[in-house]
């Protein structure tokens, strides 16, 4: 094997471990801070308390932001999932003029800098009078999360043997019966993963939301606005909740995909 002398190996391991520490330090440090009893941000915390969670849950504006975030994330992730999965099916199974172009267009929100999407949506929504509207917010979140759905569902449909579908058809199954009894049970783990990714994507979205949401406050938007003004320990509690949400969601995805043996193709 390569790696050379024990010295180079030791050096490599040190760099590797330090890199992982660098990567995870922000996440690791926020969680204990949220249970701090101190008013200022000091690490390690001088004592344990739940005061920041009490402040958070006692603040109606934070609660409202959580509600808005949840509603927007639920609606936009479901729309992105349904439209994205249908489109992924059409792209993988169909052949029509402009297919590559359509696929590129669906992935574009991932490549175009988010700030540009934010400005374009701001100008466009202002033009048609939907700036600061709920509809505008949900549509924007839907578009931004389409690429995540496309990536997961594209792989899943490509891996799903088309002949299984054809057998169902040829045995006389109707279209809706094939979808319900043959395709969905097979694709369910990937559908779940795609939905989770779209949900997290929407729940964490901050840039476009800050530009176009108007009076609507989502959790990341409120967090961002407060961070620019002052360093407020309540944010550590919000951050911890976001970390927990992400860890649980990812664990669920890994478990469900792993059980179906679909973890590898989806991740790589």
């Amino acid at each position: 094997m390569i790696g050379g002398s024990p010295w180079t190996r030791r050096l490599l391991a040190t760099v590797g471990v330090l890199a992982l520490v660098f990567l995870t330090v922000p996440i690791v440090i926020v969680i204990p801070m949220s249970f701090s009893s101190a008013k200022s941000l000091t690490f390690p915390p001088p004592g344990f308390s739940l005061r920041w969670y009490e402040t958070l849950f006692g603040n109606p504006r934070w609660m409202e932001a959580m509600w808005t975030s949840t509603v927007v994330a639920v609606i936009s992730s479901i729309v992105a999932l349904v439209l994205g999965a249908l489109a992924a099916y059409g792209l993988r199974r169909g052949s029509f003029k402009g297919r590559d172009w359509a696929e590129g267009n669906f992935m574009a929100p991932l490549i175009v800098p988010t700030i540009i999407a934010a400005i374009a949506l701001y100008l466009g929504l202002a033009k048609i009078g939907l700036l600061g509207s709920f509809v505008g917010l949900v549509v924007a979140h839907t578009i931004l999360n389409v690429p995540l759905v496309m990536m997961v569902m594209g792989v899943a449909i490509r891996e799903f043997d088309q002949r299984i579908e054809q057998v169902a058809w040829s045995l006389g199954a109707s279209w809706s019966y094939t979808v319900r009894k043959v395709m969905l049970p097979n694709l369910a783990p990937s559908v779940f993963a795609a939905w989770v990714f779209a949900f997290i994507g929407s729940f964490d979205e901050v840039i476009v939301t800050s530009f176009i949401a108007g009076k609507y406050e989502t959790v990341p938007k409120k967090m961002f606005n407060e961070l620019i003004l002052e360093v407020n320990p309540t944010i550590t509690a919000v951050a911890t909740l976001l970390i927990v949400l992400t860890v649980l969601a990812l664990a669920a995805v890994v478990m469900i995909l792993g059980r179906a043996g679909k973890l590898k193709p989806t991740l790589v």
Binding site: M1, I2, G4, T8, L12, G16, A19, L20, F22, L23, T24, P26, I27, I29, V30, M33, L41, F43, L83, L86, A87, Y89, G90, L91, R93, G94, F96, R99, N105, F106, A108, I111, V112, P113, T114, I115, I116, A117, I119, A120, L123, G124, K127, V139, T142, I143, V146, D204, V206, F211, P220, M223, F224, L227, I228, A239, L242, I243, T246, V268
Partner: protein, 272 residues
């Protein structure tokens, strides 16, 4: 003629064209048109004549470049180290790279305030070791922004790089060793060239993302480290100059797409 499958794609395509493509085209229009006079380049002329814009552009380029180089310097050894790990350790390492990727960028940026602040972990460590007497200011300057950006973007480089490295057949390296090549030669003549397309592709991707970065400079820069995105924010939300913002956005969009085209070529090479 439309072939099969188009009806599945159509609903999403309509939504995308109406709610994504049309706004971008409208933005491009604002950048090049003036009411009643038609096509104009005057918004671009305004850009060149205003030194502030050029300064922000230079700032952005410099920070993006440094953050990208830092990413390479940290990411390559990390991915290479992960490749050599045993199964369980490797899984843990992958999890530790993937998890930050999905955690809100706000959370990851915010924590650096605690770590890098004057009374933060790094400064207390530096003073404890006696390396410095007074706290070093990492926050609200380019240093903090660069550290934060490198941190947020690291998974974007490490994951594809690791995927490329894991595909390299061990027998190839063993063959070279059995023919007497020293480890250094094996690394530089065989291993490194095989990872180069993925490294180049990942680097370009990170650079593109750096150019459009908004959240991290806004928080860790404290308004003192303006990058293109923050300038755009000012031009839209504070002193409304939509045409100017559109002109800058158009340039950023074109630069991004050009780099992305290069990325696609390299990425195809890397996954071939």
């Amino acid at each position: 003629m439309r072939g099969t499958g188009f009806s599945f794609v159509a609903p999403l395509l309509v939504l995308m064209v109406v709610a994504f493509n049309a706004p971008i085209v409208y933005m491009l229009g604002l950048a090049f048109w003036e009411k009643g006079r038609g096509f104009t380049l005057e918004h671009y002329q305004g850009l060149i004549e205003t030194p502030v814009y050029l300064k922000v552009l230079g700032n952005t380029m410099r920070i993006a470049l440094i953050a990208t180089l830092a990413n390479m310097a940290i990411g390559y050894p990390l991915a290479h180290w992960m490749r050599g790990l045993q199964n369980r350790a490797r899984l843990i390492a992958i999890a530790l790279v993937v998890l930050p990727f999905w955690v809100s960028i706000l959370v990851r940026t915010y924590a650096w305030i605690v770590v890098l602040g004057n009374g933060g972990l790094v400064n207390r460590f530096l003073q404890w070791t006696g390396l410095t007497d007074a706290p070093v200011s990492f926050l609200y300057n380019e240093m903090g922004v660069t550290i934060g950006m490198a941190n947020v973007l690291l998974p974007f480089l490490v994951l594809p790089l690791f995927a490329a490295m894991i595909k390299i057949d061990d027998r190839l390296l063993q063959a070279a060793a059995s023919m007497g090549a020293p480890p250094r030669t094996i690394f530089w003549k065989i291993y490194f060239p095989l990872t180069l397309p993925a490294l180049a592709a990942g680097t370009l991707l990170v650079f593109i993302l750096c150019l459009g970065f908004y959240v991290t400079p806004a928080i860790l820069g404290g308004g003192r480290v303006p990058m293109i995105s923050n300038l755009l924010d000012t031009l839209i939300n504070q002193i409304p100059r939509w045409e100017q913002a559109s002109a800058i956005s158009t340039i950023l969009l074109i630069v991004t797409l050009l780099i992305f085209a290069a990325y696609r070529r390299l990425d195809r090479k890397a996954s071939a």
